[in-house]
């Protein structure tokens, strides 16, 4: 009963139930069945947890094909954490979507396909299954982004489609080179062969000789055996990098995440980009690509800072959040690239925390937009007295993303600063924190008390009330954001046990709630307030209008893409 393949099969079964709902009249029953799969997945994850913590047999061959071309799944610590995150956020999003008429059973079909794809990406044990799952995710995501059939949504979906399809072509090229040079697709065997390559340069020649049918291959790269695998690594990174949306591949994200339906935005920003990050990290680990880490650290820091600059300039509330997703991905990437025992746990903690608070923010903002019928954050108006729940949820999210204690953003930012200790890249992240605080002061105007009844409400009179389906996810996510911050020490220890380096036994966790940490947060907060007034000044507003007007076209973006590939190829060379 505890096979991890059930984590992929359950959502597929759920999507089947959703389709059945189109045929039989019992729609409520089908919805309930479709949603009960999340409970089933949670049970599987719970039963697997002891095994994962003990580090016992973590590879599962599918269909009993143990030998190498057979497909296997890996449920180790990082994969467990990632799938638990996927289940949690998708469940919140599914509940939130329940009482809207536009999200019918077909919507749940695509949602559950997306969940199945994400689970498959984090659990897969071979590189081609990863490609297929990435494409399942992509197709479901394109449809969901364009779900409301607005012009903006359709165009955003199309732009995302072009970019990620070109990216996935490179991924497939990388798969080809891996198969040609290493003769395998399984992560475990790739890791072995790459290790052989690293330890013994003589193997380089032997390996290409060992290639299954050497005499018949007339490859262009034949003269450089072993070197072409570096290009394969770069191509794989670029293919996933488009989904992960760091600079220079980020340009599709603001539009796609801003114009998707609100719950879909929460899902995309919350877990979808994390999923591709987890995949990227697995590939880097399999290829022993530690030489790329410092580049990732710098790329992440620059991404964080540049994206927060763009976020400050936005007046569209959802687009502001979307730019922050890029910025926070930069944080995660920077943490993952740092050379420290804490780097991986810090990255994973921040990934989880970001999923929690960004899911909360997108759902809360989405509901505010739904109530008022207005996206511009200056025109949504203060909602504090009209809807205390949304105001409180927004406030929790904003405090958390700004790294104010005792919310969970504070915890993971402390871990990241510990991991990046002494590195010059940390200055960029520190500046990013100031920018983040400033832009969330800007967004927090929605949470101000304000008048009890403003004119905008009359336009969407029926949307006033909060149904249980809206309240439950907001409350659960708010509570989680707070609890994972207050109990930050125990929480980080748990993450460490799952993703930390097992060879490091005596590990010293940074003390979280200490006076000097608080003063640091206070300085960031004060500088953030100063920056906020700077941005809101007439000069700042003019600059902001200029900056937010810069939107690269598809052709330009694809050219960035080629540059990105070149950059990664240089970084991957060894």
């Amino acid at each position: 009963m505890t096979e991890p393949v059930l984590l992929i099969l359950f959502p597929l079964a759920g999507s089947l139930f959703s389709l059945l709902g189109k045929l039989v009249p019992a729609k409520r029953v089908c919805t309930a069945l479709a949603l009960s799969i999340f409970a089933a997945m949670a049970v599987v994850l719970f039963l697997q947890l002891p095994l994962v913590l003990n580090g016992e047999n973590l590879t599962y061959a599918l269909g009993g094909f143990v030998r190498e071309p057979g497909i296997s799944l890996i449920l180790d610590g990082p994969a467990w954490l990632a799938s638990a995150l996927i289940v949690l956020i998708s469940l919140m999003v599914a509940i939130y979507s329940l009482d809207r008429p536009e999200f019918d059973l077909r919507y749940f079909f695509f949602l559950l396909m997306l969940v199945a794809g994400m689970e498959a990406v984090v659990l897969t044990g071979d590189i081609f299954t990863m490609f297929v799952s990435l494409e399942i995710i992509a197709i479901a995501a394109y449809v969901l982004i364009a779900w409301e059939k607005s012009d903006e949504g359709l165009l955003a979906s199309l732009k995302y489609l072009f970019l990620s399809s070109v990216g996935i072509l490179f991924f497939l090229l990388g798969v080809f080179i891996v198969y040609r040079d290493l003769g395998t697709l399984s992560f475990a065997v790739i890791a072995e062969r790459i290790a052989e390559l690293k330890t013994d340069p003589v193997v380089l020649g032997a390996l290409s000789g060992e290639n299954r049918f050497p005499e018949k291959i007339g490859s262009i790269l034949q003269g450089y055996p072993g070197r072409s695998i570096n290009f394969a690594l770069a191509a794989l990174c670029v293919g996933i990098g488009v989904r992960t949306a760091f600079i220079p591949f980020h340009t599709w994200l603001p539009e796609a995440h801003a114009w998707a339906p609100h719950p879909v935005s929460a899902l995309l920003s919350g877990v979808l980009i994390k999923t591709s990050f987890f995949a990227l990290f697995r590939i880097l680990a399999v290829f022993h690509a530690f030489h790329m880490h410092s580049m990732l650290m710098w790329l992440g820091s620059i991404t964080a800072l540049v994206a927060v600059g763009w976020a400050l300039a936005q007046s569209d509330s959802k687009r502001l959040l979307a730019y922050h997703s890029i910025s926070q991905m930069g944080y995660i990437l920077a943490a993952a690239g740092a050379a420290s025992v804490f780097s991986v746990p810090a990255a994973y903690t921040h990934a989880i925390n970001h999923a929690l608070f960004k899911g909360l923010l997108f759902l809360a903002i989405g509901h505010a937009i739904h109530m008022v019928g207005e996206r511009n954050l200056f025109r949504i108006g203060p909602l504090g007295r009209r809807s205390p729940l949304i105001a409180l949820a927004l406030l929790f999210g904003a405090l958390s993303i700004s790294g104010i204690p005792p919310f969970n953003g504070f915890v993971s930012k402390q871990l990241i600063s510990h991991a990046l200790d002494g590195s010059p890249a940390y200055i960029l992240l520190w500046l990013t924190a100031v920018g983040t605080t400033a832009s969330f002061i800007k967004l927090s105007r929605i949470a101000l008390p304000g008048p009890k009844d403003i004119s905008g409400f009359r336009r969407h009179d029926s949307n006033h009330r909060h149904s249980a389906a809206t309240v439950i996810p907001l409350v659960i996510l708010s509570v989680l954001v707070l609890l994972s911050g207050v109990y930050g020490a125990g929480y980080t220890r748990f993450v460490w046990r799952l993703v930390g380096d097992p060879s490091v036994t005596a590990v010293e966790f940074p003390a979280l709630f200490k006076v000097d940490k608080f003063t640091d947060s206070l300085i960031i907060l004060l500088l953030g307030i100063a920056l906020y007034f700077l941005v809101m000044s007439p000069v700042g507003k003019r600059v902001a209008k200029r900056v937010s007007g810069v939107a690269p076209k598809l052709g330009t973006v694809l050219t960035f893409f080629v540059f990105g590939l070149a950059l990664f190829s240089i970084a991957a060379w060894r």
Binding site: Y142, L158, L161, F162, V166, F176, I220, V562
Partner: protein, 112 residues
Amino acid sequence: MTWYLIGAIFLLGLWGVIGLKNLVKQVIALSIANSAIIMLFVYYASLSGEDAPIMDTAGIPVDPIPHALMLTAIVVGICIVALALALVYVLYQRYGTLNMDELEDRIWKADD
């Protein structure tokens, strides 16, 4: 020679996606680039033997794995192309243009 030809087809498709100004042509170019990758796998596998990978063949059977992989990749590629064309079609019905730059200008600039 064949390797270079496949490479040329791939680059042609890539250039089409980046450089052309007609969305339908760009989708077709994407499909061409995808086909080039598929040919790459299939051609590589075809070098590995001389006979179909069926039990009891006389000659050396070719490696069947790339073929199996490419069946999946072809199906995925078709889904992407179909979806892309559907999106392009709806946008064309609404705006009467197939130029991505023009669409981006008209749809996203209109919000500010």
